[in-house]
């Protein structure tokens, strides 16, 4: 039986009296590539932040790798690329290799000292993503596409089992976006890495995801791509556009 990586049951969340999510339940298994989609304000990022413990879990239960969310300690198994990279101060004086190295902290015990192998891991992931030449550059000097790759390198440096990408291609051009998703897809195929991709870009979900969670404060749909394209509810939501997503599929 496949390992369950993420399980959410009846998650509800609101800011004050404004509901953001209601009764969301789903299970993600090892190797799944799940596209979390929905329009702006549908609760996609909020859901991911609850799963990661970045927002308080008010109702429902979350488990990560079989452990209750609040007690989860195996952070080295998770790589996270946040939305729009807005969590980073653009004036922070940090080099690419310093920023990527921070991703290794989850696998380290106190005192978290860096050794030669850590520097090699950073070099290896930068080489994998073909950005080794940027290692001594300041983050503030990078283009949107380069920054995105660096933060992906940071998320991947521990070789995580679960990769969570929140709107990863917002700031990059179409060509770079294609290369980006193609690389992510290869990780899912080669390493059986579990991937959660949050996006409002239905095209890339149609092309790569094998499961889809469609949110609009509630989970309007969760299932496989085949079920998605036949779902009466999704046909009702998307109408003719649904065939457009399907046409992206290879």
């Amino acid at each position: 039986m496949d390992n369950i990586i993420v399980s959410a049951e009846k998650i509800s969340f609101g800011y004050g009296v404004v509901p953001v999510l209601k009764d969301i339940s789903f299970t993600i298994k090892q190797g799944d590539f799940v596209g979390v989609v929905g329009h702006n304000g549908s609760g996609k990022t909020t859901l991911i932040k609850i799963i990661l413990g970045l927002l308080p879990q008010k109702e429902g239960t979350v488990t990560l790798f079989g452990e209750p969310g609040g007690k989860f300690a195996g952070w080295e198994k998770i790589g996270y690329l946040p939305q729009n990279l807005s969590v980073i101060n653009p004036l922070f004086p940090v080099t690419v290799k310093e920023a990527v190295g921070l991703g290794l902290l989850s696998a380290k015990r106190f005192p978290k000292l860096f050794v030669k192998q850590d520097r090699e891991k950073v070099g290896a992931v930068l080489a994998d993503l073909q950005i080794l030449n940027l290692q001594n550059r300041l983050m503030s000097e990078l283009s949107g596409g380069q920054l995105q790759r660096v933060m992906l390198a940071r998320a991947l440096v521990n070789r995580p089992e679960l990769l969570i990408l929140d709107e990863p291609t917002n700031a990059i051009d179409a060509e770079t976006r294609k290369t980006f998703f193609s690389y992510i897809h290869s990780l899912s195929q080669k390493n059986r890495m579990t991937i959660i991709l949050i996006t409002h870009d239905m095209g890339c979900v149609g092309e790569y995801a094998d499961k889809i969670l469609y949110l609009d404060k509630v989970a309007l749909f969760y299932g496989s791509f085949d079920q998605f394209k036949k779902s009466a509810k999704m046909i009702e939501v998307f109408g003719d556009e649904l065939s457009h997503f399907i046409s992206h599929r290879h």
């Binding site: 970045l54 300690a73 005192p111």
Partner: protein, 267 residues
Amino acid sequence: MDILTILNYGFIQRAFVAGIFVAILASLLGAFLVLRNLSLIGDGLSHVSFGAIALGLFLGIYPMYVAIPLVVLASLLILKLSERAKLYGDAAIGIVSSVGIAAGVILAGISNGFNVDLFSYLFGNILSISQQDVLMSILLSGVVVFVMLLFYQELFSVTFSQELARVTGIKTGRINSLLVVLTAITVVLSVRVVGIMLISSLLILPTVSSLQISRGFKMTLFLGALFAIISVVLGIFVSFFLNIPTGATIVLVNFAMFVLAYSMKKK
């Protein structure tokens, strides 16, 4: 009188030792504060140390013994006010700092006896620093730098991004508490070097100068410490030869280095 001659004076030696230790400490810690937009916490805590030092003088206790625990408590109060009471960070600093000043003014008013001593803490007098102050500076600076080294990666990570730090399993709340407690100790130690009114300069200026030309986080820390040492050494010499206040001279040398670093910055 030449430079080597003045180095023979005991009070100059004590000023150099205490000043350099505290300057390195303040500049290292300042990097984390400046990059997290917490620069003014040093200012707020220095105002609290005014009240705490006044209390020490009022009670006839060595002021640092009173100031360290009280300023540490105030630093944690600022943190809790900004987290729990949902106050903006600068509002929390403003509340705690004004209460500290108010307490100091009232104690000075009702005592009548120690206003002159209190004045020396307001503007600092590194040249009159005692053996006890020097030992305390060395000891506490050593402890604070050691703790910073132990938690360097956590402090770096939380400064870079709190959200990403949490997803690497770092308890950001504990690291924030550690940062403000270390800041509180540093502020109290800095009182004798530049005085209550000028402490933030030791925390802010070396880092801001370093940020103009550094190429990475470690380099920012290293250059900040270097600028801090130069400012103390030059500040003591210049103030001695020109017979002007030392704390203020250290601050102005720091500012001159900022102007120099800014002019060297690649536009």
